[in-house]
Symmetry: C2
Subunit: 462 residues, 2 copies
């Protein structure tokens, strides 16, 4: 059997899959400041109407525009690979497949939504997108998409990353984006913070506030904001991952996987791989679906299910989700993409329903797993991806112990070539798991009590 | 038509192509210190006999071991892609195809030879390889290969790169190699230099001397040295690139390319793509084959054809090649892989024969071309690869002016994700073309006069 399972461009999925059509109980609606559900019109200063329509859609299948496909062809369909060397190393009877999203030019799954978001904005007559970025993975993906589609792009990058991680910033600049350290003097939000704390290292919360403000205050009305995870339309665009994987598995005679695994920060790479298989689970297939998070930011495994804001500055609507509170600041683990206080509402509703079984891993265990991966499969994974690999190894060992020939599928969401400092810390013995005391971990969940209750509506039996 | 032309693993070439079998006049032999041809036995302290046999072989086809193929499958066959977006941008009738060697885990073509070299050494009972590296591209490829095959690996890295470019060093360490700043205290060569110049930034010449010394002085006899370019067996291993490309072109109905282009430092990525088409040219096909070099190191376009040492410290045999003299130190251009004073003897003999037409480009023009590439095709290329792209753009524009539907094939030898500093310098206007005065450029070619003459034996008419 070939280790790399290809799919022809002509066999690429031509529609995205929308889990909202099939969830036994749909997620609760986002709420505005007055506690009432947000209407599409209220979102128009921030997003173009064609994306808002996707955000609220309950249609099962949504066409992927031909022009979007023409750009995705630069790297899609991505290969599905079989990790035969890891299987041998673990002496497992499990067959381990992984979808290799690291092959995109920015090196992760992020451009799967950056490209359609840029395209729909361009169609709507928008000329400029703003966004925020932490370590730079999302910012570089949006810069890439805007360059190819012909939009200006402004990225507010958390200052500490801007100063300490110059390479992602350089990627954005090569793709023509303007990358600004946040807090900046370009927005009221930024100026206010700088006046109070001139030496602040910045935060994702502040950067989101600046990016939204820069979009909504543009007097020409030709600027909108773009988000790289959490929202329904973002997850929708990522489902091309799982739809391709399904075709590829079938092409080598595998019906369905027994276990589906992906790391989850805001939820988009997990949803992208898992949602197309979730529909099979809803229809009776026996599939374990596991979003993996760091123990340093354990919203899915330990956080309450509640309404909360998506950003620290409370500019977004209230979303129904597992959350540690919008003011929560996790330990500075290397997996920057998993340091988000909340989780996509569609993923959260799946957890409430029992469709998804989240699991948390410590950073050192993840780096240990990443090293096992590197020394068997040969590639260097992103710190976020190492969380999925840690869970894959555990499941493969369990399959060995149980003597079961399970099919494990996971998302290789990104490469780690821009994140080698974490490996250096691990190899030189500097990496530690700093456990946060319970009271610190849950310090901000009491803020959630002031928001409307989010009832755990559950119908399914899985 | 698909933009990405795949090849199945089952269709991978199973033999390497050896141009030495078909060159109208074979290259002159390497000479020892006494001026007599080097015999295979004399090389045994440095290389294992199975690789020495490949080095001196004139067999046309040499089998690729199954176990080597099993490792190459991790990223091979590599895609052949059509640069449709660059074509549109240039409004050229030319069809531009590129072989994407950037998809290997270390990010370049280098593992194509690192893997078989490690494998043959392991077969021969060797336990440890030494090598040198400048910016780290080759060192990381050999570290990767040794990890997968089960050899120890020690890399002497030029000190200035070791200090200034920590990321390639980290890649080597992740793959388990020991990476040492050169000059080091581990060898006589290193200690001697350090005693004279404690603050030296090091050089590739010194690093080669240290790596060879570390191999030949190991009392267990279980250590050998590995070189990443120049030698016949290294070029041989790279021919899998061109052999795959030929099958892929044929699969989309292209008979042969009209133009074949690759950058050339020591010559291995150029040879890898070009040699399988050179045999067609020898047999009458009308193909222009162009190795591209930087004007900062113009050995092929301006250097004399002569016998010279492969390293600064004169430890290697004398090789017949175009050379600027083994003591030549080029300007510090970002394309570190093209800063070598000589060129592979097989490539040089092809130039003498008129089979290859070398061309030189200035650094600023190359970065300008790299930016055109990034903004059309979307990926960020290595500074070395940008030299090939500069020539491709010139040929595509010429095809437009002549109204000719030419087929241009080039080697996308590596990505530039570890080389973003050069882009930063270009974008911020700091990049300059520093022209070396003629007397400095040719200062060391007079050293060549003391070596045996290398007659320009030429039989072909191309």
């Amino acid at each position: 059997m070939e280790q790399k399972i290809q799919l022809k461009e002509s066999d690429i999925p031509r529609q995205w899959y929308n889990l909202a059509a099939d969830l036994p109980t749909p997620p609760l609606p986002p709420l505005g400041p007055d506690g009432n559900p947000v209407t599409p019109d209220m979102l128009t200063p921030v997003f173009p109407m064609n994306l808002i329509e996707q955000e609220v859609s309950t249609k099962r299948w949504i066409d992927i525009p031909e022009e979007v496909l023409n750009i995705l062809y630069r790297w899609r369909p991505t290969p599905l690979r079989r990790a035969v060397n890891l299987e041998k190393h673990l002496k497992t009877p499990a067959r381990i497949y992984y979808k290799d999203e690291s092959v995109s030019p920015p090196g992760s799954h992020k451009p799967n939504t950056a490209v359609p978001q840029a395209w729909y904005n361009k169609q709507f007559g928008i000329q400029r997108l703003t966004t925020e970025t932490g370590a730079g993975q999302w910012g570089s993906a949006l810069a890439f998409a805007c360059k190819l589609i012909g939009l200006e792009c402004k990225v507010f990058m958390v200052r500490i990353s801007f100063d300490q991680k110059p390479f992602r910033k350089l990627m954005m600049q090569v793709w023509g984006a303007k990358c600004i350290a946040s807090p900046s003097t370009e927005t009221n939000a930024g100026r206010t913070i700088l006046a109070q704390m001139p030496d602040t290292p910045g935060s994702l919360g502040i950067a989101i506030s600046e990016a939204i403000e820069a979009a909504v205050t543009d007097p020409t009305g030709k600027t909108r904001y773009s988000l790289g995870s959490v929202l329904n339309h973002v997850l929708l665009h990522q489902t091309i991952i799982g739809l391709e994987a399904k075709k590829q598995l079938q092409s080598v005679g595998e019906k369905l996987p027994d276990i589906v695994i992906a790391c989850a920060g805001g939820g988009s790479n997990f949803a992208g791989l898992a949602f197309p298989f979730t529909t099979d689970k809803i229809n009776g297939a026996n599939i374990e679906i596991m979003p993996i998070e760091p123990t340093a930011c354990p919203k899915m495994t330990r956080g309450p299910f509640s309404y909360d804001h998506g950003d620290t500055a409370c500019m977004t609507p209230l979303l129904p989700m597992y959350s540690l509170g919008h003011a929560f600041v996790p330990q500075p683990i290397h997996a920057g993409g998993l340091r988000y206080h909340g989780m996509a509402p569609l993923v959260c509703q799946g957890i409430v329903e029992g469709l998804f079984k989240p699991k948390a891993y410590k950073q050192t265990k993840c780096y240990e797993s990443a090293m096992t991966w590197t020394q068997t499969e040969g590639t260097i994974c992103a710190p976020e991806t190492s969380h999925a690999i840690a869970a894959v190894i555990d499941e493969a060992v369990k399959a060995r112990e149980e003597g079961k020939k399970k099919v494990i599928l996971f998302n290789y969401s990104g490469h780690g070539l821009m994140d080698l400092v974490g490996y250096d810390n691990y190899l030189s013995g500097k990496l530690r798991d700093i456990e946060m005391p319970e009271d610190e971990l849950f310090k901000y969940t009491k803020d959630l009590e002031k928001f409307p209750k989010a009832p755990m509506r559950k119908t399914g039996q899985w």
